[in-house]
């Protein structure tokens, strides 16, 4: 990280090299991703239903948004889903990865290949399949429960507002376990195996080794995984859209779905744009906040 003088006094061919390397990525990214954000901000200052008539309202859309309880309920749902997914996806992925590095496990290579497979399926198909798994009448879960005589436990999984967030998080967690396993296994392979050998001789159990050696050594990878998880879940859309459409009522509504409905069903483009900008800001704050929270203690530790 230290900037030596030598690096500033770059040769001009390196300077141009850097510019040429960055230029294509910057150009296309700016044009396709960033300019529409500016456009969305511009639109968020208007009342606009899509036609020629646009009326400037300043920051009024934002002041309405601050008081829009439906939007903040969606935000809370996003947060809950994110928490469940960070624990579920990364936690389970860590346990599975640790298991797959143990000697007693069978069929390791098959598990690795199959676990990643759900990540390759489109979210719409995943939501669609799980919708049938949760189905009350003939869904897989209730069929199994009824088959073993636990009829009382069979329930309309997607119909209970009190637990709906937990239920819709399950497919999300399931789909991406493999994805995070890859990240965690990658970090684990870079750990020097001699550390484990020493620990084993000292009589440390498998669980102790996983918690006391592996976990601290891969914490920076876990942080990256957490950031990816937060970023992904703040904009979650397809799974929810397919499984519950935000219902019952608005109990599983998430921010991106709210924006979608405001845009394409209610045709309030200005307000929807304000919501989009708000999502971006909220996500930034969350990612930044978590980073600070986690990084601080680490820096202290290192000092």
């Amino acid at each position: 990280m230290k900037k030596s003088k030598k690096q500033y006094a770059m040769k001009s061919d390196i300077k141009w090299g850097i510019i040429i390397c960055l230029l294509p990525a910057l150009l296309i990214y700016t044009y396709v991703v960033v300019v529409p954000i500016f456009k969305a901000f511009y639109l968020s200052l208007y009342n606009w239903s899509g036609g020629a008539k646009m009326s400037f309202v300043g920051l009024k859309n934002y002041s309405i948004l601050l008081k829009d309880t439906a939007f903040w309920d969606s935000f809370a749902n996003n947060i809950w889903i994110t928490i469940l997914c960070v624990i579920g996806q990364i936690g389970i992925a860590f346990i599975f990865s640790a298991l797959l590095s143990a000697r007693f496990m069978k069929l390791k290579s098959i598990h690795r290949v199959v676990a990643y497979f759900p990540s390759t399926i489109s979210a719409v198909v995943v939501g669609f399949v799980w919708m049938f798994i949760f189905n009350y009448d003939y869904g897989l879960i209730n069929s199994l429960l009824r088959a073993v005589g636990l009829d009382k436990l069979a329930s309309a999984w997607l119909d209970n507002p009190a637990t709906i967030i937990l239920i819709v998080s399950i497919p999300l967690i399931w789909q991406y376990i493999g994805y995070y396993m890859v990240i965690i296994m990658a970090a684990m392979t870079s750990i020097d195996t001699s550390i484990y050998e020493v620990a084993e001789i000292d009589g440390a159990s498998g669980i102790q080794r996983a918690l006391k050696i592996t976990l601290p050594l891969i914490k920076s990878s876990l942080l990256v995984a957490t950031m990816l998880c937060i970023a992904g879940n703040m904009k979650i859309f397809d799974h929810i859209y397919v499984m519950t459409n935000g219902g019952p009522g608005t109990s599983s509504m998430v921010m991106a779905l709210d924006v979608y409905k405001t845009t394409f069903i209610k045709n309030r483009f200005g307000y929807a744009s304000a919501m989009s900008i708000a999502i971006l800001i909220l996500s930034l704050l969350l990612v930044g906040g978590v980073r600070l929270l986690v990084m601080r203690p680490w820096k202290k530790e290192e000092n």
Binding site: L22, V33, L99, S109, F117, A186, D238
Partner: protein
């Protein structure tokens, strides 16, 4: 004799359960495909009566009708073209950017890096309308290359992040040696660094391949001509205004997943190996 036996049972119970859980999870991962396949063999009324029962007969009628009556092959060709070109460009463009972001500490470097990372936080549904207006005005909508723009642009952030951290874990010595030998900037990058980053580039390519292949919203909004339609949008045609023929739709889903699955399972071992070798090393 007794003692070691006891130890074996005491340890083997949790081991057995660990194996069992892992196997159950793996089975759950392929279950959707098996279920989709089973359902796709059913007739509409068979499916309506029970969506979980086994099909009565091995009936490929749905597949045949998709093959002969729809333009699914054309849509697959379009999807394939979009996917291959986008992935190739993403790999090269993000490699170049990530390399300099990782190796050189110039002023504004962090700003540019964070600028790219911002892209991971954007819900795309929020930008569909502004983006369509912009593409339309620039004359970029409705061409064979239209979809490449969003696919490449939205693929860049995660790709740059992954490659950047991987490059940081490669020792610099080889590049320095190359520089001493008189290799120029670009020659060093392509001759020395590029081959070394193979695993991460494979990872990026795989992640992006599936992301682009499955993408729906941009494909729906940004192109309107039938000859440009992609697979996910083509699948929506299986839904009528008031009716859905589920088995036929499932046959369609599987039909279009088939080439990708083939690719995945044929190369699965190598894919996962290079992904594990390539994923974030922190």
């Amino acid at each position: 004799m007794k003692k070691p036996k006891k130890v074996v049972t005491w340890k083997s119970i949790p081991r057995f359960f660990a194996n069992l859980i892992m196997i159950l999870f793996s089975v759950s991962c392929v279950f959707p495909i098996i279920w989709l396949f089973g359902s796709s063999l059913k007739t509409e009324s068979e499916f309506m009566q029970s969506s979980m029962a086994l099909p009565a007969a091995f009936n490929l009628k749905n597949y045949i009708s998709i093959f002969t009556e729809t333009k699914m092959l054309l849509y697959m060709l379009n999807s394939f073209r979009n996917t291959v070109i986008s992935v190739a460009i993403i790999v090269v463009v993000s490699f170049l950017a990530a390399y300099v972001l990782s190796r050189y500490r110039f002023r504004g470097r962090n700003a540019i890096y964070n600028y790219f990372m911002l892209g991971m936080l954007i819900p795309i549904h929020a930008l569909l309308v502004p983006m369509y207006v912009q593409f339309k005005q620039a004359g970029l909508a409705n061409h064979w290359y239209t979809l490449l723009f969003p696919y490449i642009a939205f693929g860049l952030p995660i790709s740059i992040m992954l490659i950047e951290s991987y490059v940081a874990s490669i020792p610099k010595e080889l590049e320095e040696a190359a520089a001493i030998d008189g290799c120029g900037f670009f020659k060093t990058i392509f001759k020395v660094v590029f081959p070394l980053t193979g695993p991460i580039l494979a990872t990026v390519a795989i992640i992006q391949f599936f992301a682009v292949w499955n993408e729906f919203s941009f494909a729906l909004i940004l192109v309107s001509k039938e000859i440009l339609r992609t697979v996910p949008v083509g699948l929506t045609m299986f839904k009528g205004a008031y009716t859905v023929d589920y088995p036929r739709m499932m046959a369609g889903i599987l039909f279009t997943m088939f080439p990708v699955m083939l690719l995945y399972f044929a190369f699965s071992k190598r894919i996962i190996e290079s992904m594990v070798a390539g994923a974030v090393k922190g």
